[in-house]
Structures are given as structure tokens and as C-alpha cells.
Symmetry: C2
């Protein structure tokens, strides 16, 4: 029998999704599971999306252009213009969510065996896509104790090798909930320029920030040819199931490569390109509403976490994730316990253990990521259940 490729063996299972079977088993036992493991909010889809989809009923549903439907790309252009970034249609390619844009960016930047710098903890899809592409990720560690601050340039330079091709910066950051400061971004850009690296800027959560104004890294004109922007409508318009994102760059070589990659997969779903046009046009209003809601949700979770003995965390500045350090030895075991061995009033909670968000073995053992994706009353219940679960787990597993 032929053997699976090494890269397929190296591609990790999603730590967010691997506990879903246990969650389903709990549900089958009649237990209500509050799912706070993935960035999949219960927030309503803006009605304009379904209205636009409903009104679109062509006789023929042919391939959209690989470079995107004209009106869809125009809507992205207008959206970026509202952020002060003037892109031409040839600077934008719609993608199947941010995910495909990340894959394209990695493929354009690095060859098999080459290296890309990421901050750890890192959004897990980067690990998967890097493995699929045969790229080695080199982690630059961010630490909760100093608020996930950018390490010194000296520390970053230690991670460089002759094979380093790019650095990834997610802003606001998933999973840390960190907002990168202007000075930090400038340091990263100058570091990348000095060492001839692409900057893969993932701005999926751009508007979900709890201070300052939404911004786009492409505004740094001096560095703009080095930046590969990846974006998504999933979070700001609550449309993860629509699979619409984009890749944008001022670098014509990058855009040429992205177009050739895009031609290989022909096109992105026409219905969703059509449906998201009105949302991109009213992005400011929609995203502001979403921001407010997530800020309230994250605030509630923070207040509840603060009441739990032995739990530490850094209040999130953006996105809708909170990393918490728990008084446990093995967060995976705790997550499993919550699903298999615990219920409070017939309820339990699914969170994401953080081990797999790190590249360095041994880190994140006592950490979980909480996605503040449920309505406040549900979140409040979930936090209470988490507190009781944690107490019971500690009783059974004294430190």
C-alpha cells in the first residue's frame, strides 16, 4: 500500500475541532454544551446578505472570473478606501475565506524547506498550511506576563536563517487578543525590510478592536511592496459560513502569483461574492455594531474569570478571544474532563486547550482559549459552569 506523504502526516488536526466528537457525545447524553472553542459567533447575519443572494438568480451559474466578480472587487476597493488605502482591482483577489488567502500568501513567499516567522501562540491554521506547503514555521514567543509585547529586535534576529522568507502578523491577534501598537508594527516592518522578508498581514479581526480606530497595514507606504494582506468578511459581518475573504498587495509579482494560484482553482463562490457586496458597502456601521457586542461579551467573560481563584488572564484588546491560565497541569485533560466527566445543572463548556497553538513543545500546558461568541446570558452561565468545573477538577487533580 502506498504511504501517506510526510507533509500530510505532519499536518495537525485542529485543536479547536478535535474535541467536537466529545461535545456531541455529551449532547447525546442530554447535556447542554456551551461551545466557546471556535470563532463561530451566534451573532445574526446582516439581512442584506440573504436579500442579495435571494435576488440573484441567473439562468446560468458559470465560473466567476478567477480575479473576482467586478462588483465584488469594487466593493472591497471602496471598503479599503474608507480605511485610507487606495487599491486598484489588480491589487485585490477574492479568496475562499482568509484561509485561502493565507495559503496563497505562504506559497508566494516561501518554497518547500524555507522558513516563515510567526508569533506564538499562533492561530492553528498557519501550522496546517505551512505543513501542507512544506514550509517551516519559526516561532517568536509572546508572553502573557508582559502583555504579549513584541520581543526585542535582537531576540527576533535570533530566529532568522538564510532560509527565512516572511513574517506573519495578525492584528488584532488571534489567539492572544492583542492589538499591535504602532511602534511595534513599525519595528516589525523595519525588521522585515532590513532582512528582505515579506510581511503577511492577517487583518481578519480589523474592526473588532476595543480601542483606537480600525487600520490597515498597507497604509505604511514605504513598506507596501513587502506586505501581503489577508482578509475576511467572516468575523466583522458574522459570515464564517460564506467563505469570502481576499488577498491584497501592491506588489505586482505577488498579485501575479496570486492570480495564477487563483486560476488553478478557477473561482470563488458566486453567490457569496454577490451577497457580500452590500455588506462591504456598509462595513462601518455593521462592524461598529459587531465591535460593541463583542466588547460587551469579552468584558463579561473577563469579569467572571477575575472571580475564579488561581485563574490569570490578560484582558483582550481585540478579536474576541481570551487566553486564560488555569490552575491545572494539562489543559487538554481539563477540556476532556469538562466534556466527559462533568456537568453542572446538566450543562458544560467546551473551550480550546492552548497546547497546539504553540510551536515550542511544552508551552501552553495550563492555558485555554475562550472564544466570546455566545450571547451574554449564555456566556454568564458558561462561566459559572466553568468555575464549578474547574473547582471539581482541582479537587480530583490536586496540584
Amino acid at each position: 500500500m502506498p504511504k501517506l506523504s510526510k507533509r500530510a502526516q505532519l499536518t495537525p488536526a485542529s485543536p479547536i475541532r478535535k474535541f467536537l466528537p466529545l461535545a456531541r457525545a455529551a449532547q447525546a447524553r442530554g447535556v447542554k454544551v456551551y461551545a466557546l472553542s471556535s470563532g463561530d459567533p451566534d451573532y445574526s447575519v446582516p439581512p442584506a446578505f440573504f436579500k442579495a443572494v435571494r435576488n440573484y438568480q441567473p439562468k446560468v451559474l458559470g465560473y466567476a472570473p478567477s480575479s473576482g466578480l467586478f462588483e465584488h472587487v469594487a466593493a472591497w476597493q471602496k471598503y479599503y478606501q474608507s480605511l485610507g488605502v487606495k487599491l486598484q482591482p489588480e491589487n485585490i483577489i477574492p479568496t475562499a475565506g482568509c484561509a485561502e488567502a493565507i495559503l496563497f500568501a505562504l506559497l508566494a513567499a516561501a518554497d518547500p524547506g524555507e522558513e516563515v516567522l510567526v508569533f506564538e501562540p499562533v492561530y492553528v491554521s498557519y501550522k496546517s498550511f505551512a505543513a501542507m506547503a512544506g514550509i517551516v514555521l519559526k516561532p517568536i514567543r509572546l508572553k502573557p506576563e508582559n502583555g504579549y509585547a513584541l520581543p526585542s529586535v535582537g531576540e527576533m534576529e535570533q530566529k532568522l536563517s538564510p532560509k527565512t522568507r516572511a513574517i506573519v502578523v495578525v492584528n488584532p491577534d488571534n489567539p492572544t487578543g492583542k492589538l499591535w501598537e504602532k511602534k511595534e508594527l513599525e519595528t516589525i516592518l523595519a525588521f522585515a525590510a532590513k532582512h528582505d522578508l515579506f510581511v503577511i498581514a492577517d487583518e481578519t479581526y480589523r474592526e473588532i478592536r476595543f480601542q483606537g480606530q480600525p487600520e490597515c497595514l498597507l497604509k505604511y507606504e514605504a513598506y507596501r511592496d513587502q506586505i501581503i494582506l489577508t482578509d475576511s468578511v467572516s468575523k466583522r459581518f458574522t459570515l464564517p459560513g460564506a467563505r469570502i475573504g481576499c488577498l491584497a498587495s501592491f506588489n505586482p509579482e505577488i498579485m501575479g502569483a496570486a492570480l495564477r494560484f487563483a486560476q488553478a482553482r478557477l473561482s470563488v463562490g458566486t453567490l457569496e461574492q454577490v451577497g457580500t457586496v452590500p455588506l462591504l458597502r456598509q462595513a462601518k456601521t455593521l462592524a461598529q455594531k459587531a465591535r460593541k457586542e463583542y466588547q460587551a461579551r469579552c468584558g463579561l467573560v473577563s469579569r467572571e474569570l477575575a472571580k475564579m481563584p488561581g485563574v490569570t488572564f490578560r484582558p483582550t484588546q481585540g478579536a474576541f478571544y481570551i487566553i486564560a491560565q488555569l490552575p491545572v497541569q494539562d489543559a487538554e485533560d481539563f477540556v476532556r474532563f469538562m466534556l466527559e466527566d462533568f456537568a453542572y445543572n446538566n450543562q458544560t463548556v467546551l473551550v480550546a486547550p492552548m497546547q497546539d497553538f504553540y510551536l515550542t513543545p511544552g508551552l501552553g500546558q495550563n492555558e485555554i482559549r475562550i472564544a466570546c461568541v455566545l450571547k451574554k446570558p449564555d456566556l454568564k452561565n458558561a462561566m459559572q459552569v466553568l468555575k464549578f468545573g474547574l473547582a471539581e477538577y482541582q479537587k480530583k487533580n490536586p496540584a
Copy 2:
């Protein structure tokens, strides 16, 4: 400035799509362009698709499971069962068109620097995905003069190396329009088994065959753990813009890898998964109608091609493509001529030059691929225009 990766440089532009700008320029001059370059039919979408989409308006549009929506996977299962192949849900993963399934199959089968055998001429997306994945394609040549028959096993073995991991078989074949005979398929399967290769079976055009019954390679039980099936709803239901396909295999290692790849990109568009359920349920009726229509279209094009002096071709047995050998030195130049320098009654034709469908340099210089994707009256006009264009081109470029 950082440099583009080598694989990005090696990823070819689509030969099907690269002439679209010239076609648009011709249209801008007021010339009607019959587009026969891509597999993008003018055939109507089955109304059940839009009906199902219209009726689906959840409050929240969250990620579908990476392994697909339950009812969508069940519809694929039922469809394969009608072909005599009993698949469990864990044997099927919905993908963004056949394109994503091809990428997943290649990534699961081969590591960077390893090799995959393909028959040439080859559907061009294989070239792109292989370049993106760092995989080397080794061509086994099919020749029109013997009806694109399978070469001897000895010839195929000459293409093997210690790095060979898989062989691709597209049935019915794009671009040759060839239907693989039972004996040929058995030879390929035995060859793959002997040399420990995966068989990537691309059956996008399964029902569009002009003799015999639709079939699925997974019916060969003795070989089923080696087979990675890639499929699509795009052609049989005329839904290329929906981006729905699947990867299917009985090999649990392959399905484990495909699921991990699928988790990296989270999910496939929910609307289209929902919309295609009723189509998969009535696949037989819908595909039979489509088959009849394409058979009539291909027949018409064949009859018209037969009247053109100096043109040879092999009547297509399936899919809806016809490769024609023209009395020209350079098909790309001819395609450009048709768009830039020629019009008959203010009409012209866009076809795909075949050079880029080959891996061996120098092949296909005088060949074009005609996609029989327009209604018969349009095809008839297009063939007349092609005939006159060819005559004028020959006058200007005597052999």
C-alpha cells in the same frame, strides 16, 4: 525587496484564461466573441438549486463542519450508492469544487520534490497545483493517431522513479474527450498496485459520456484503498460557479489527511452545500439531460470540423471537449489572430490553444481545444466563423 518563491514563478498562467483580456478587447470593439475556451456551459442551472438556497435563511451562518454538512454528505452517499459504491460519511469530504479535492489528493500523496504521473495532454490545473505543492509531474503521452490509447506498461514503467507516488486518471478525460476502457483502467490499477502508487481518479465528467453507463473507479474493490477519488457537481449539474466537489476514498489514512487539510480551511460554503442536496438526489435525471445536450453539441461541432480542409480530430467520447489539429504552425498565434485581427460579420471565436496542456515542450503546437459549451445555433455560427478565420489565417501564414 524579497523575491517571489520559485514555485510561484513556476505556477503557469491558465492558457484557458490568459486570452480573456484579448476577448474583452474584441468585445469592447463591438465584436461578438463565441467563448469556447473554458468548460463553462451556457446550460441552465436546475431550478431546485436556487429554490433550496432561497429557502435557507438561518439567523446565523456559522462554519459548516470541516467534514461537510450532514445532509450534504448524505446526498453524496446516496448518489454514489446509485453507482454501486457504498461509502460511509467518513469516506467523503466536500471540497471547494474538484479543484480543492485535486490539491488535497496531491498533497496527501506526494512530498515536495516527489513525482506524480499524468497522461498528457493534461488538464492544466494539475500543472498549477503540482507547482504550488512542489511536486514534479511526469507525463505519459497519449496520441490522437491511436485514439489516445493507453501506452504499453513498458512505456509507462519508463516514467517511474523511486520518487513516483501516484498516477492521475481523468475519466472521461479532459482535454482529450477520451473514455478510458475497462481494460485500460484495469491495467492502470494493476500498474499502480505493482509500483505502490496512489491512483488519483478525477471523475468530474462521469455522466457526460456518449457510450456506456456512468461508472466510478471505486467499484474496483481489490484496489480501493489506493484510489483517491475527486469529483464535482460543476459539469453534470452545470454549477461551476457554486464551487462544490468532493474527495472520497476508502483509505482511512487518506481520509484522515484530507480531514486535517479541510480543518485548516475550516469549511466549504454552506449555501452551496445546501443548494446541491436536491440535485445530488436527482442526479440520474439531471445528468442524463445534460449528457444528451452535450452529445448533440459535440456531434454538431464534429460535423462542422469534418468539413474544414486540413483539420483533423478524434470525435469525443465524453466530457465536452474536442481537440482539433489545425493546419497552422502555432495555435497560440492563431488564437491571438482570431481575437485581434479577424472578424466575420462582426463575430469571432475564442478557443484554447493546446501547447500549455502538454508538459513535453514542443507538443500541441498545432492543436486547439474546443469546449462545446454553447447552444447549437451559437456553436454552428462559431464553427462557420472558425472556418473562415482559419482560411484567412492560412492565407496570411502559408505553411
